[in-house]
Symmetry: C2
Subunit: 321 residues, 2 copies
C-alpha cells in the first residue's frame, strides 16, 4: 500500500522531526523523546508515551497546559525503559513526575522499570494507568485508549495550578474510575512497518470494540447506519455511566473524514437527548488514532464542573481544542 514515507524504518524519527517543524516549542532528544523546549522550573512534570501510530497522541500534546514529555516507541511498540528514564530526567522538578501510562503489558512494565530507576536517582515519581476501554469486560485487562488525552489535559491543568503530586494522583485516579470509552471500525489500520492490515474485514462488515493497535474488535456484525451504531455503543456505555450529564469525546481513528465524525456527534447528541442525557461539553476530532483506521471511539466522563474547567483551560498544544 502506498504511503507518504521515505522508509518504514525511519517512520517515527521522520514524523517527530516533522512535528518539530511546525511545533518549534519542543525539542527531540535521543531520537524519539519529545520534551518542551522551555522546561518547567516548578510544579509536577507530566510524562506520557507508548507506541507510535496514535498521532497526535502523545507527542502532539507536549505543550504548555498538557505534557512535559512524550516517549515514542516504534509503531504499536512500547518505548524502552532507558528512553522513558531520559524523559523523566529531562523534565523532572522538585515537585516530582507523574507518568501517564495506557494499560498495555509492555508499556506498564517499561514505565515501571523507568520509575524504579528514576527513584534510585532520587526523583519522586508516581504512575497512573489508564484503562478506559470497556470493550474488554475484565476491568484489570481494559486497554487505555482515547480517554488518555483527557487525562493529559486534566493533569496538566492541575500541575499548572500547583497541585502536589500526591493530590494529582488522587484526583486523576478518581477520574479514571469514571471515564469509559468504546470504539468501532469500518476498516482496519494498515501498518507500514509490517506492511500488513491489522485485520481483514469484508465490505459489508464492521467491528465493535476495536483497540488502537490493529486488534480485532470483540464483535463483528454487518455494517449499519450511524444512528444504530451510536445507539449500540451508548447502550454499552450506559451500563457503566449512570449520570445524566456527560462530557464526551468523539475520537476519529485516523482515516475517517471530519465530516463523518460530526455526523456521529449529531446522532450521538440526538440519541442522548431521547434518553434525557445532556451533552455538557463535546470534543470531536482525531485525538488518539490508529494510523489510517476508519472508525471512531466515544469517551465519556460524568460532568463535573472542575474537570470541565480543566478541559477548557488554555493549552499551547495545536491538537487539543
Amino acid at each position: 500500500m502506498k504511503k507518504l514515507i521515505k522508509s518504514k524504518t525511519d517512520y517515527v524519527q521522520d514524523m517527530l522531526a516533522g512535528l518539530n517543524v511546525s511545533q518549534s516549542d519542543i525539542e527531540i532528544i535521543e531520537d524519539t523523546v519529545v520534551v518542551r523546549k522551555h522546561k518547567k522550573s516548578s510544579g509536577v512534570a507530566l510524562v506520557s508515551g507508548g507506541g507510535s501510530g496514535h498521532e497526535p497522541a502523545h507527542a502532539g500534546y507536549v505543550a504548555e497546559g498538557m505534557l512535559d514529555a512524550a516517549v515514542c516507541g516504534e509503531i504499536f511498540t512500547s518505548p524502552t525503559p532507558d528512553k522513558i528514564l531520559s524523559a523523566i530526567k529531562a523534565v523532572a522538578t522538585d515537585a516530582g513526575v507523574l507518568l501517564i501510562v495506557k494499560n498495555y503489558a509492555g508499556d506498564v512494565m517499561n514505565f515501571e522499570m523507568a520509575q524504579e530507576m528514576a527513584e534510585m536517582e532520587g526523583i519522586s515519581v508516581k504512575m497512573v494507568i489508564v484503562k478506559d476501554d470497556i470493550a474488554v469486560d475484565n476491568e484489570e485487562q481494559r486497554r487505555g485508549v482515547a480517554g488518555t488525552v483527557f487525562v493529559h489535559k486534566y493533569a496538566g491543568y492541575l500541575a499548572d495550578q500547583g497541585v502536589s503530586l500526591e493530590d494529582i494522583v488522587a484526583q486523576v485516579e478518581h477520574l479514571l474510575t469514571q471515564m469509559k470509552s468504546i470504539g468501532m471500525a469500518l476498516q482496519p489500520p494498515y501498518v507500514p512497518t509490517t506492511e500488513q492490515f491489522g485485520f481483514d474485514l469484508h465490505d459489508d462488515q464492521m467491528e465493535i470494540g476495536i483497540g488502537i493497535h490493529g486488534e480485532r474488535g470483540i464483535k463483528r456484525t454487518e455494517a449499519k447506519p450511524i444512528d444504530e451504531i451510536v445507539k449500540q455503543l451508548v447502550e454499552r456505555l450506559r451500563e457503566e455511566v449512570t449520570v445524566t450529564e456527560w462530557i464526551v469525546m468523539v475520537n476519529g481513528m485516523g482515516g475517517t473524514p471530519l465530516s463523518e465524525l460530526h455526523i456521529v456527534a449529531k446522532y450521538l447528541n440526538a440519541y442522548l437527548d431521547e434518553q434525557s442525557i445532556a451533552v455538557k461539553n463535546c470534543y470531536v476530532g482525531d485525538y488518539m488514532t490508529s494510523l489510517n483506521m476508519e472508525g471512531f471511539s466515544l469517551t465519556v466522563i460524568p460532568y463535573d464542573a472542575k474537570v470541565d474547567e480543566a478541559l477548557k483551560a488554555p493549552t499551547m498544544s495545536a491538537y487539543f481544542n
Copy 2:
C-alpha cells in the same frame, strides 16, 4: 463503500448539526448556513462557503478571529444565491461584508448574484476570489484550494483590527498575488452522494496537481518516496515564489494520517534548507480536505511580518492552530 452516515441525502445537514454539538458558539440557519451566535456589531463581516466535503473548511472557521458565516452547498456543489444572501444579511454590519470565494464557475456566479441582491438592499459587499492552485497554468482558471484558509485568517485579523472593507480587499488582493498551492494524491476521494470514487488510480500510481473535488491531477506517475514527491512540488512552487523566507501549510486531504503529514513536513523542511529557503512558520493538518482523499497539498506565502502576526493571532476556531 461503508461510511459513518445515516443517509446520503442528509449528509450536509447532519454534519452541520453535529458541528453545532461541539461548537456551541455557532448556529445553523436555513439548514446549511452557519453563522456566529454572537454577531459582530461593528467591523467588516466575512462570509465564505462553497461545496461541502472540504471540512473543516468552511463551517469550522466560523468563529471569533475568522469567519462570520459559511454557506455550505451539497457535497462538491456550489451553494445557491438565496442562501448566500441569507448569510450576508444575517451578519452584515455598517462596515460592510467581504465574500471570500474559491475560483470555481458555480461559486463565483452564485456569490456574485448574491452580492448584487445584497447591494440592492443597501448592503456594502465586496468579493475576493482565491486562485492559489498553480497546478493549472492559466492564471485565470486556477482553482481556489487550501490557501483560502489563510485568507480566512488574515482577513479575520484585519476585520478585528477595524480595517475598512476597501483596505481589507486591497491587502487580501496583495496576498492573493503571492500565495501559491499545489497538491497530490495517492488515493481519490469516495463521494458518498454519487457512490463513486473521484477517479481511478492503480496501486503503484500517484496523481500530481489534483483539485479538491475529485478531479484528476495534471500528471500521473508511479508512486515515489516522499522526499522525491516534495522535491517535485517545491520545484514547481519555486517557479512562482522566488523569496527565501516562506510561510507554509502542509494540508492533509482528509484520509491521510497526521503522522504522514509530519513526515511530509520533515522532508519539505530538509529540502528547503538545502535550497537556503527558511520555513518561518509552518501549519500541518487537515484544513481544506476532499472527503477521504489520501494525499496533501502545499501552500506557500512569502514571509511577511504582518501576515505572520495575523496568522498567529488568537481565534476561537477549533480548527486553525
